[in-house]
Symmetry: C2
Subunit: 204 residues, 2 copies
Amino acid sequence: MPQGRPLAVPDDGLTTRARRNAPLLAVHTGAGKGKSTAAFGMALRAWNQGFDIAVFQFVKSAKWKVGEEAAFRQLGRLHDEHGVGGPVEWHKMGAGWSWSRKAGTDDDHAAAAADGWAEIARRLAQERHDFYVLDEFTYPLKWGWIDLDEVIATLTSRPGTQHVVITGRDAPQPLLDAADLVTEMTKVKHPMDVGRKGQKGIEW
Amino acid sequence: MPQGRPLAVPDDGLTTRARRNAPLLAVHTGAGKGKSTAAFGMALRAWNQGFDIAVFQFVKSAKWKVGEEAAFRQLGRLHDEHGVGGPVEWHKMGAGWSWSRKAGTDDDHAAAAADGWAEIARRLAQERHDFYVLDEFTYPLKWGWIDLDEVIATLTSRPGTQHVVITGRDAPQPLLDAADLVTEMTKVKHPMDVGRKGQKGIEW
């Protein structure tokens, strides 16, 4: 349990209040479970504070995240209809980005990924949301579909107090260096190793 | 991404369907962030499938989980008033267990923890819920407030298809041995190490 007592107080001239409002870049990586799940748990907390939430899923198939998507759409409805929590947007590359007609087709995943990132960069520049989840974003970085240097430059120079959480295995070192919070999820034991199948309410 | 293809098919005489419905015991441990957050993310997915959710928080101060609690109370309302998702119960040791008048006082944390576990054991026997989060449950185990052998025996013999997720540092080895899924959250980098403070919408 964090006790709110930092191990060191940096000599950065910032007030405690400024430090408390500093925008967070978090990375959840490693081969274990819970990377995306913990990111969505963070988004739940942010939603409760009235933050504007945007999720971008960088995967072809969104099969394993339908539960979270459905739950967050309900939370977004609670905001829109009852003024509870914050607004929620949920965008999926696998289904073709909602803002785009051209990209996100079956033909060109690399172009779709690049298009997704370009839109995120535009939104960061506009300070459009308070809390971004870039789910499985490490894969298009790893595959060279999106330029890592540009991503780092855009993230580290983003204006305002926009929080960004990035998930996926094999996060590149420069991204870890740029992040404020890095957690590695390590697989100790997994039921699929002993022949168990994915389960309703657990895996999706 | 799990592909749904187990590495081995066990010789347990179970059908795929039976294995798919097998109750899961998951443990999130380690010194990193995201143990509870990922558990609540799992609960979100279970809620979306209409599962009956019960959260038991084994901490004196619930300061850091108020965001999740508020969000899950909203989700529970969505179920009760609109028939969406599943019902939600949220119990806190820190505030005195809601079902108990005697335990949970400021005086005796060990008795309150034991009372909490006794109630969970009763509910497991009754198959009262579908998905249990035992948040920070490793600490009363570690401190000897709750008997580990009895916990293992109760969990491994629980009837039906009740899923249980336990969080906290230093999970004891017998609990890991009994679990189906164990994930260790490892701290790679944490903003408090460099003097940053807990943040609204991030830490609570």
